[in-house]
Symmetry: C2
Subunit: 400 residues, 2 copies
């Protein structure tokens, strides 16, 4: 029989950082949404590359129209109009103007724009009804991005907005971290997967469902799921196959130190050099947690209980992915609405609901599965704290 070799979460974080690295690849912008930058992006071009008008109107030399008013319009010759996307055919000389649409390029010589609302046509001349201010209604070269400017930092999770900026600077390929693949295995003689009726003593498997879908929250692709009886050779063979096509293997159930708990032994048998790195975490729920390494891949043993499995998996994945991305977007802060007690000597996790920055701990036995559907996330209570008080400010780890 094995014994626990209990670690704190802080130690677990260090183990994760020491043991796991991430590969990178170059992808087209179309495939970059939701990916994490593995390089810092600097602009190769100015944005815009030319002086653009922000209004529909007439490009002018501001000096020419400095005395213009509604009662005394200044008349300018119209020497043409600028087409969108085209280079203006002429430069402005004294007392000349040119029509420029919103987004169009200003001709050489122009240093101001007069909105069409402040102009009036007089035969083939344009009457300017008020003075133009230098650079007003104009975006200058590089106003938005200067060539050589740092635009996005390494480790940035790329959203629609970031991809828009990459498109603006013509960066159509970026270096990102490779997308991770995972296998989820749920073990237990009592687990039933089909929609057939349950016999007494049996329960429907929950963990492949919750773990599989929660991995999507971390943008990890699930390539296989398995629900297995507690049969060691079967579990071992399944893990071996999973390692061929996965970067991460999650196994719920069998992570404790009982008779039918095979995960730790299997991990050690599959990797002589590394194997089990951690067996047992000083957290509640989640003591029976295993962090293992086989062929440079993460093998995670999780408690069988669905709520515990989900919370522990969430914390472990945050730690594992921490070297790739800061997990900030999955957190919010709020104020506790009541006192919460904790298990001394252990980090304690408590499921909570968040409404308007107020945090409501969810009551009920930790064994209850319906807690999951009510909770927006969970809070962490430090190992040296006896609990938290009403009105304390705390961080909530969001569970999507």
């Amino acid at each position: 029989m094995r014994l626990y070799n209990v670690h704190t979460l802080k130690e677990a974080q260090e183990v994760m950082e020491r043991h796991f690295q991430f590969e990178t690849e170059r992808v087209h912008l179309d495939d970059a949404y939701g990916r994490i930058l593995a390089e810092t992006i600097t602009a190769d071009i100015h944005v815009p590359m030319f002086r653009r008008s922000t209004v529909d109107g007439y490009a002018v030399r501001t000096f020419d129209v400095s005395g213009a008013s509604e009662t005394m319009p200044i008349l300018l010759d119209i020497i043409g109009s600028v087409d969108m996307g085209k280079f203006p055919e002429h430069a402005l000389k004294e007392n000349q103007s040119m029509y420029v649409p919103t987004g169009g390029m200003l001709p050489e010589g122009a240093d101001g724009m007069v909105m069409v609302e402040y102009t009036e046509l007089f035969l083939d001349q344009i009457g300017i009804l008020k003075p133009a201010i230098i650079k007003e209604h104009i975006i200058d070269i590089g106003d938005d991005v200067m060539q050589g400017e740092r635009v996005l930092e390494k480790h940035q999770l790329l959203s629609a907005r970031h991809i828009g900026v990459l498109a603006a600077i013509g960066q159509f390929e970026v270096l990102v971290f490779k997308k991770l693949k995972a296998t989820v295995i749920s073990t237990g003689d009592e687990l039933i997967t089909t929609s057939s009726l349950l016999k007494r003593g049996e329960v429907y498997d929950i963990n492949t469902h919750t773990l599989k879908h929660h991995l999507k929250h971390f943008d990890i692709e699930v390539v296989q799921t398995h629900v297995l009886k507690d049969v060691k050779p079967l579990i071992k063979k399944t893990i071996e196959h999973a390692l061929e096509c996965s970067d991460i293997v999650l196994i719920s159930g069998g992570s404790s130190v009982g008779e039918k708990d095979y995960t730790a032994d299997i991990i050690d048998e599959l990797s002589k050099e590394e194997g089990v790195l951690i067996h047992g975490l000083a957290i509640k729920p989640g003591k029976p947690t295993i962090v293992g390494k086989v062929q440079n891949k993460l093998v995670l043993g999780l408690p069988g209980h669905p709520v515990s499995a989900l919370i522990v998996m969430d914390q472990m994945m945050r730690m594992y992915l921490n070297a790739m991305i800061e997990m900030k977007p999955h957190e919010v802060r709020g104020t506790l609405t009541m006192n919460v007690h904790a298990a001394p000597g252990k980090e304690t996790f408590v499921m909570v609901k968040v409404i308007d920055q107020k945090i409501y701990p969810i009551q009920g036995k930790s064994s209850m599965i319906t807690m999951m559907s009510q909770a927006d996330g969970y809070i962490r209570i430090g190992e040296n704290q006896e609990g938290l008080n009403k009105d304390d400010q705390v961080i909530v780890y969001l569970l999507d």
Copy 2:
């Protein structure tokens, strides 16, 4: 030339609600992640369906062991052990006990569990070292979910946690709203899509990138994207084709009332009964917005400017989807860190950054594309407000 027919956002919401409905479909639980429930779910079974132990230990009749202590253990006969997933072979009679693992089913007759830590083996009998409390360490039938109980409400966005609960009650199929499909079209003579070098006057297209990826934020599948020159027959033909395979067509650029703004005319030509429902919104940025309906599908004309297009699209999609789901998860509250001025008579949108519930308005011309990469979302200032003050509590619409 067309004229604007300006509506408020409130009116736009009413138009959306009156004109658009959503279809539903039945899907397997494996495909239910991220979908929106179109039915209320009630449990067909009790969870658990049997009395389960929450510890490894011995099932007892509490009456038998009421006087037990470490110095005076009470000895019980062991009549067997319960296997996980199996129905216990015997019922407990007086002074009998049975081993039950965590999650195992309690035998008939038992009303308490004694943790293995508080027992000692004496030959073929078990010594009980402390009294058992009725129902302690036991989850009773229906403790988690009662048969007939409402488990999830209609309009719930299904996350990993909800799918876990559905699995627990054996609900392997659910009625959800059909996944929506969209086409994104960006129009403008100045737009370049390839990674070739820009000529002066040209810019890279941004809107197909930002709009396409932001639709993923709303779980909408993008089936086509197009970048088109401002040529009316070309744009019309593309919209017609898009309507064959999309529920939503977004067109950026061409939504104003100028010479080359064709979107409104095309929508009216394609649908004699409905066509353009709204042309012009009293918002800033975003006045040139079109809400149209063709073949019961949403055709949305958006401003050409990338920041405006993104904000308007986000607001319009929230309104459109409002009948399917409450958009709460995409909002946070916080405190403004400085005064913000607004355009009177219009709703004003201002891009902001959110750090620890503090809201920092992003400075800079609204024409700047890099604002997008810095912003976490935007705030709304009502049409009758002159602005917002430092320390005001406001809602931020998150842009993923």
